[in-house]
Protein backbone atom coordinates (compact mmCIF):
# COMPACT_ATOMS: atom_id res chain seq x y z
CA UNK A 1 0.00 0.00 0.00
CA UNK A 2 2.85 2.40 0.96
CA UNK A 3 4.53 1.62 -2.36
CA UNK A 4 1.63 3.25 -4.24
CA UNK A 5 0.89 6.03 -1.74
CA UNK A 6 4.30 7.71 -2.04
CA UNK A 7 4.25 8.36 -5.84
CA UNK A 8 0.60 9.45 -5.60
CA UNK A 9 1.42 12.01 -2.89
CA UNK A 10 4.42 13.28 -4.89
CA UNK A 11 2.25 13.49 -8.03
CA UNK A 12 -0.48 15.34 -6.17
CA UNK A 13 2.07 17.78 -4.75
CA UNK A 14 3.55 18.45 -8.18
CA UNK A 15 0.08 18.92 -9.66
CA UNK A 16 -0.80 21.31 -6.86
CA UNK A 17 2.39 23.26 -7.46
CA UNK A 18 1.66 23.52 -11.18
CA UNK A 19 -1.88 24.69 -10.46
CA UNK A 20 -0.56 27.26 -8.01
CA UNK A 21 1.93 28.62 -10.56
CA UNK A 22 -0.67 28.76 -13.25
CA UNK A 23 -3.12 30.68 -11.02
CA UNK A 24 -0.35 32.99 -9.83
CA UNK A 25 0.74 33.88 -13.33
CA UNK A 26 -2.90 34.59 -14.31
CA UNK A 27 -3.52 36.87 -11.34
CA UNK A 28 -0.16 38.54 -11.92
CA UNK A 29 -1.20 39.23 -15.53
CA UNK A 30 -4.43 40.74 -14.29
CA UNK A 31 -2.66 42.89 -11.71
CA UNK A 32 -0.12 44.06 -14.27
CA UNK A 33 -2.63 44.80 -17.01
CA UNK A 34 -1.73 48.47 -16.68
CA UNK A 35 1.67 49.58 -17.93
CA UNK A 36 4.34 49.91 -15.22
CA UNK A 37 5.16 53.31 -13.80
CA UNK A 38 8.38 53.55 -15.82
CA UNK A 39 6.45 53.40 -19.08
CA UNK A 40 5.22 56.78 -20.17
CA UNK A 41 2.04 57.70 -21.98
CA UNK A 42 3.98 57.76 -25.21
CA UNK A 43 4.91 54.13 -24.66
CA UNK A 44 8.58 54.76 -24.00
CA UNK A 45 10.64 54.27 -20.84
CA UNK A 46 10.89 57.41 -18.73
CA UNK A 47 14.51 58.04 -19.48
CA UNK A 48 15.74 60.59 -16.96
CA UNK A 49 19.46 59.97 -17.30
CA UNK A 50 21.50 63.12 -17.01
CA UNK A 51 23.57 64.04 -20.06
CA UNK A 52 26.62 61.74 -20.18
CA UNK A 53 28.64 64.14 -22.33
CA UNK A 54 28.62 66.72 -19.56
CA UNK A 55 30.68 64.44 -17.33
CA UNK A 56 33.58 64.74 -19.77
CA UNK A 57 33.24 68.51 -19.54
CA UNK A 58 33.07 68.41 -15.73
CA UNK A 59 36.21 66.29 -15.38
CA UNK A 60 38.10 67.85 -18.28
CA UNK A 61 41.75 68.35 -17.20
CA UNK A 62 41.89 71.57 -19.26
CA UNK A 63 39.94 73.34 -16.50
CA UNK A 64 42.24 71.92 -13.82
CA UNK A 65 45.36 73.04 -15.72
CA UNK A 66 43.89 76.49 -16.29
CA UNK A 67 43.04 76.91 -12.61
CA UNK A 68 46.52 75.70 -11.58
CA UNK A 69 48.12 78.29 -13.83
CA UNK A 70 45.88 81.13 -12.63
CA UNK A 71 44.77 80.87 -9.09
CA UNK A 72 45.66 80.37 -5.47
CA UNK A 73 45.58 77.04 -3.63
CA UNK A 74 42.12 77.94 -2.21
CA UNK A 75 40.68 78.32 -5.71
CA UNK A 76 42.22 75.03 -6.81
CA UNK A 77 40.62 73.36 -3.79
CA UNK A 78 37.32 75.04 -4.62
CA UNK A 79 37.48 73.66 -8.17
CA UNK A 80 38.16 70.15 -6.87
CA UNK A 81 35.35 70.35 -4.32
CA UNK A 82 32.88 71.64 -6.89
CA UNK A 83 33.79 69.03 -9.50
CA UNK A 84 33.65 66.24 -6.93
CA UNK A 85 30.18 67.38 -5.81
CA UNK A 86 28.95 67.49 -9.42
CA UNK A 87 30.36 64.06 -10.21
CA UNK A 88 28.83 62.53 -7.07
CA UNK A 89 25.48 64.11 -7.93
CA UNK A 90 25.65 62.60 -11.43
CA UNK A 91 26.70 59.19 -10.07
CA UNK A 92 23.88 59.02 -7.52
CA UNK A 93 21.33 60.11 -10.05
CA UNK A 94 22.59 57.55 -12.58
CA UNK A 95 22.49 54.75 -10.01
CA UNK A 96 18.92 55.71 -9.12
CA UNK A 97 17.89 55.58 -12.79
CA UNK A 98 19.65 52.25 -13.31
CA UNK A 99 17.82 50.81 -10.29
CA UNK A 100 14.51 51.98 -11.73
CA UNK A 101 15.42 50.36 -15.03
CA UNK A 102 16.33 47.07 -13.36
CA UNK A 103 13.15 47.06 -11.29
CA UNK A 104 11.15 47.52 -14.49
CA UNK A 105 13.11 44.70 -16.06
CA UNK A 106 12.53 42.32 -13.13
CA UNK A 107 8.79 43.01 -13.22
CA UNK A 108 8.72 42.28 -16.96
CA UNK A 109 10.70 39.05 -16.53
CA UNK A 110 8.28 37.77 -13.87
CA UNK A 111 5.51 37.70 -16.44
CA UNK A 112 7.49 36.30 -19.39
CA UNK A 113 9.36 33.09 -19.84
CA UNK A 114 10.11 33.71 -23.53
CA UNK A 115 12.87 36.26 -22.90
CA UNK A 116 16.27 35.87 -24.50
CA UNK A 117 18.73 34.21 -22.05
CA UNK A 118 21.64 35.95 -23.81
CA UNK A 119 20.15 39.36 -23.13
CA UNK A 120 19.37 38.42 -19.54
CA UNK A 121 22.96 37.32 -18.84
CA UNK A 122 24.31 40.40 -20.59
CA UNK A 123 22.05 42.64 -18.54
CA UNK A 124 22.96 40.92 -15.25
CA UNK A 125 26.70 41.16 -15.98
CA UNK A 126 26.42 44.80 -16.94
CA UNK A 127 24.45 45.57 -13.80
CA UNK A 128 27.02 43.86 -11.56
CA UNK A 129 29.88 45.64 -13.36
CA UNK A 130 28.02 48.93 -12.99
CA UNK A 131 27.52 48.44 -9.24
CA UNK A 132 31.17 47.48 -8.69
CA UNK A 133 32.41 50.49 -10.66
CA UNK A 134 29.96 52.73 -8.81
CA UNK A 135 31.22 51.61 -5.39
CA UNK A 136 34.82 51.91 -6.53
CA UNK A 137 34.47 55.42 -7.90
CA UNK A 138 32.50 56.65 -4.87
CA UNK A 139 35.32 55.43 -2.66
CA UNK A 140 37.96 56.95 -4.92
CA UNK A 141 36.24 60.33 -4.89
CA UNK A 142 36.83 60.63 -1.17
CA UNK A 143 40.51 59.79 -1.31
CA UNK A 144 41.65 61.07 -4.70
CA UNK A 145 41.41 64.15 -6.88
CA UNK A 146 38.18 63.92 -8.98
CA UNK A 147 40.14 64.52 -12.20
CA UNK A 148 42.09 61.31 -11.55
CA UNK A 149 39.03 59.05 -11.60
CA UNK A 150 37.86 60.24 -14.99
CA UNK A 151 38.33 56.85 -16.63
CA UNK A 152 36.18 54.99 -14.10
CA UNK A 153 33.47 57.63 -14.46
CA UNK A 154 33.59 57.18 -18.24
CA UNK A 155 33.28 53.43 -17.70
CA UNK A 156 30.18 53.96 -15.52
CA UNK A 157 28.67 56.24 -18.15
CA UNK A 158 29.28 53.57 -20.81
CA UNK A 159 27.85 50.80 -18.57
CA UNK A 160 24.68 52.78 -17.84
CA UNK A 161 24.20 53.46 -21.54
CA UNK A 162 24.72 49.76 -22.26
CA UNK A 163 22.03 48.90 -19.69
CA UNK A 164 19.66 51.34 -21.39
CA UNK A 165 20.46 49.80 -24.76
CA UNK A 166 19.77 46.26 -23.52
CA UNK A 167 16.50 47.40 -21.95
CA UNK A 168 15.47 48.95 -25.23
CA UNK A 169 16.20 45.66 -26.95
CA UNK A 170 14.09 43.93 -24.30
CA UNK A 171 11.21 46.23 -25.16
CA UNK A 172 11.44 45.05 -28.75
CA UNK A 173 10.50 41.51 -27.66
CA UNK A 174 6.83 41.30 -28.75
CA UNK A 175 5.47 39.62 -25.59
CA UNK A 176 6.98 42.22 -23.30
CA UNK A 177 5.94 45.14 -25.44
CA UNK A 178 2.35 43.85 -25.68
CA UNK A 179 1.85 43.29 -21.96
CA UNK A 180 3.43 46.57 -20.89
CA UNK A 181 1.26 48.56 -23.28
CA UNK A 182 4.25 49.76 -25.26
CA UNK A 183 3.71 50.58 -28.91
CA UNK A 184 5.97 48.42 -31.02
CA UNK A 185 8.24 50.43 -33.28
CA UNK A 186 7.81 49.71 -36.99
CA UNK A 187 9.92 46.69 -37.87
CA UNK A 188 12.32 47.34 -40.71
CA UNK A 189 11.59 48.66 -44.19
Amino acid sequence: MMQFLFPVVIGALLLGLLLHWSLRSRSSDQINANPPAEVGASGTLHSEFLPVGLMERILDPIDRDFTHSQATIETIRLLEQERRALAIYWLRHTRHQVRKLMSFHVRSVRRHVDLSPGLEIQLALNYVAFLIAYRLVMGLFYIRNPFHVRRVVNYIAAASMQLCFISERLLLIPGVARSTGIDMPPSGP
Partner: protein, 145 residues
Protein backbone atom coordinates in the same frame (compact mmCIF):
# COMPACT_ATOMS: atom_id res chain seq x y z
CA UNK B 1 3.93 75.63 -39.91
CA UNK B 2 3.28 79.36 -40.17
CA UNK B 3 3.88 79.73 -36.43
CA UNK B 4 7.22 77.92 -36.55
CA UNK B 5 8.30 80.13 -39.48
CA UNK B 6 7.36 83.17 -37.41
CA UNK B 7 9.42 81.88 -34.48
CA UNK B 8 12.40 81.35 -36.79
CA UNK B 9 11.99 84.90 -38.10
CA UNK B 10 11.72 86.27 -34.56
CA UNK B 11 14.88 84.40 -33.52
CA UNK B 12 16.73 85.76 -36.56
CA UNK B 13 15.52 89.26 -35.71
CA UNK B 14 16.70 88.88 -32.13
CA UNK B 15 20.11 87.60 -33.23
CA UNK B 16 20.54 90.33 -35.81
CA UNK B 17 19.20 93.40 -34.06
CA UNK B 18 19.20 92.97 -30.30
CA UNK B 19 21.77 90.46 -29.08
CA UNK B 20 24.85 91.90 -30.86
CA UNK B 21 24.42 95.07 -28.77
CA UNK B 22 24.74 93.11 -25.54
CA UNK B 23 28.41 92.41 -24.71
CA UNK B 24 29.48 88.77 -24.27
CA UNK B 25 27.61 85.52 -23.77
CA UNK B 26 27.07 86.10 -20.04
CA UNK B 27 25.66 89.55 -20.76
CA UNK B 28 23.26 88.05 -23.31
CA UNK B 29 22.24 85.31 -20.92
CA UNK B 30 21.44 87.85 -18.21
CA UNK B 31 19.63 90.09 -20.69
CA UNK B 32 17.44 87.20 -21.90
CA UNK B 33 16.78 85.97 -18.35
CA UNK B 34 15.71 89.51 -17.46
CA UNK B 35 13.02 89.44 -20.15
CA UNK B 36 11.42 86.52 -18.28
CA UNK B 37 8.64 87.21 -15.80
CA UNK B 38 9.58 85.93 -12.34
CA UNK B 39 6.04 84.80 -11.59
CA UNK B 40 4.96 83.13 -14.80
CA UNK B 41 8.28 82.21 -16.41
CA UNK B 42 7.07 83.77 -19.69
CA UNK B 43 9.33 86.00 -21.75
CA UNK B 44 8.28 89.47 -22.86
CA UNK B 45 9.77 91.79 -25.44
CA UNK B 46 7.73 94.74 -26.69
CA UNK B 47 9.56 95.15 -30.00
CA UNK B 48 9.32 91.47 -30.92
CA UNK B 49 5.72 91.22 -29.71
CA UNK B 50 4.63 94.15 -31.89
CA UNK B 51 6.43 92.73 -34.93
CA UNK B 52 5.16 89.17 -34.36
CA UNK B 53 3.00 88.29 -31.35
CA UNK B 54 3.44 87.80 -27.62
CA UNK B 55 3.51 84.03 -28.00
CA UNK B 56 6.05 84.06 -30.82
CA UNK B 57 8.23 86.55 -28.91
CA UNK B 58 8.04 84.32 -25.83
CA UNK B 59 9.17 81.24 -27.76
CA UNK B 60 11.92 83.06 -29.65
CA UNK B 61 13.36 84.51 -26.44
CA UNK B 62 13.15 81.14 -24.70
CA UNK B 63 14.94 79.43 -27.58
CA UNK B 64 17.74 82.02 -27.61
CA UNK B 65 18.05 81.81 -23.82
CA UNK B 66 18.40 78.01 -23.97
CA UNK B 67 20.92 78.22 -26.81
CA UNK B 68 23.20 80.70 -25.03
CA UNK B 69 22.95 78.73 -21.80
CA UNK B 70 23.92 75.46 -23.54
CA UNK B 71 26.87 77.16 -25.17
CA UNK B 72 28.06 78.49 -21.81
CA UNK B 73 27.64 75.13 -20.10
CA UNK B 74 29.80 73.50 -22.77
CA UNK B 75 32.48 76.21 -22.54
CA UNK B 76 35.76 75.69 -20.76
CA UNK B 77 36.44 77.45 -17.48
CA UNK B 78 38.96 79.70 -19.23
CA UNK B 79 36.26 80.89 -21.67
CA UNK B 80 33.82 81.50 -18.83
CA UNK B 81 36.38 83.56 -16.92
CA UNK B 82 36.97 85.60 -20.11
CA UNK B 83 33.23 86.09 -20.66
CA UNK B 84 32.67 87.10 -17.06
CA UNK B 85 35.54 89.56 -17.19
CA UNK B 86 34.07 91.06 -20.35
CA UNK B 87 30.66 91.35 -18.74
CA UNK B 88 32.04 92.96 -15.58
CA UNK B 89 34.04 95.48 -17.59
CA UNK B 90 30.88 96.47 -19.49
CA UNK B 91 29.15 97.57 -16.27
CA UNK B 92 29.84 101.04 -14.93
CA UNK B 93 30.52 99.79 -11.42
CA UNK B 94 33.63 98.65 -9.61
CA UNK B 95 34.33 95.01 -10.61
CA UNK B 96 35.41 94.02 -7.09
CA UNK B 97 32.11 95.30 -5.72
CA UNK B 98 30.10 93.25 -8.23
CA UNK B 99 32.23 90.14 -7.54
CA UNK B 100 31.60 90.50 -3.81
CA UNK B 101 27.87 90.92 -4.34
CA UNK B 102 27.68 87.96 -6.75
CA UNK B 103 29.56 85.78 -4.27
CA UNK B 104 27.15 86.66 -1.48
CA UNK B 105 23.79 86.70 -3.28
CA UNK B 106 24.53 84.41 -6.27
CA UNK B 107 22.13 86.31 -8.59
CA UNK B 108 23.39 84.29 -11.59
CA UNK B 109 21.24 81.37 -10.41
CA UNK B 110 18.19 83.16 -11.78
CA UNK B 111 19.77 83.24 -15.26
CA UNK B 112 19.33 79.46 -15.69
CA UNK B 113 16.54 78.55 -18.15
CA UNK B 114 13.63 76.57 -16.71
CA UNK B 115 13.99 73.71 -19.17
CA UNK B 116 17.67 73.03 -18.43
CA UNK B 117 18.56 69.71 -16.80
CA UNK B 118 19.74 69.85 -13.15
CA UNK B 119 23.32 68.83 -13.93
CA UNK B 120 23.77 71.62 -16.49
CA UNK B 121 22.27 74.13 -14.07
CA UNK B 122 24.63 73.00 -11.30
CA UNK B 123 27.65 73.04 -13.62
CA UNK B 124 26.86 76.56 -14.79
CA UNK B 125 26.50 77.92 -11.23
CA UNK B 126 29.61 76.07 -10.14
CA UNK B 127 31.66 77.49 -13.04
CA UNK B 128 30.53 81.03 -12.27
CA UNK B 129 31.46 80.53 -8.62
CA UNK B 130 34.97 79.34 -9.58
CA UNK B 131 35.34 82.08 -12.21
CA UNK B 132 34.50 84.69 -9.56
CA UNK B 133 37.14 83.21 -7.26
CA UNK B 134 39.72 83.31 -10.08
CA UNK B 135 38.90 86.95 -10.91
CA UNK B 136 39.09 87.84 -7.23
CA UNK B 137 42.50 86.21 -6.85
CA UNK B 138 43.73 87.96 -10.02
CA UNK B 139 42.60 91.31 -8.64
CA UNK B 140 44.37 90.54 -5.36
CA UNK B 141 47.57 89.66 -7.24
CA UNK B 142 47.38 92.90 -9.19
CA UNK B 143 47.02 94.89 -5.98
CA UNK B 144 49.98 93.10 -4.39
CA UNK B 145 52.23 93.68 -7.38
Amino acid sequence: MLKSMNIEAAIADLRRRTLPHVPGEIGRLIYLAATRDYNTGKYYHDGLASAFSNEVANQALEECHNEIFRSLVESSLEDIVGQLERYLSSICEEASEIIGFWERIEPYRIAVPVSSDPLSARLFCSNIKIALAILKSRAKNRLNS
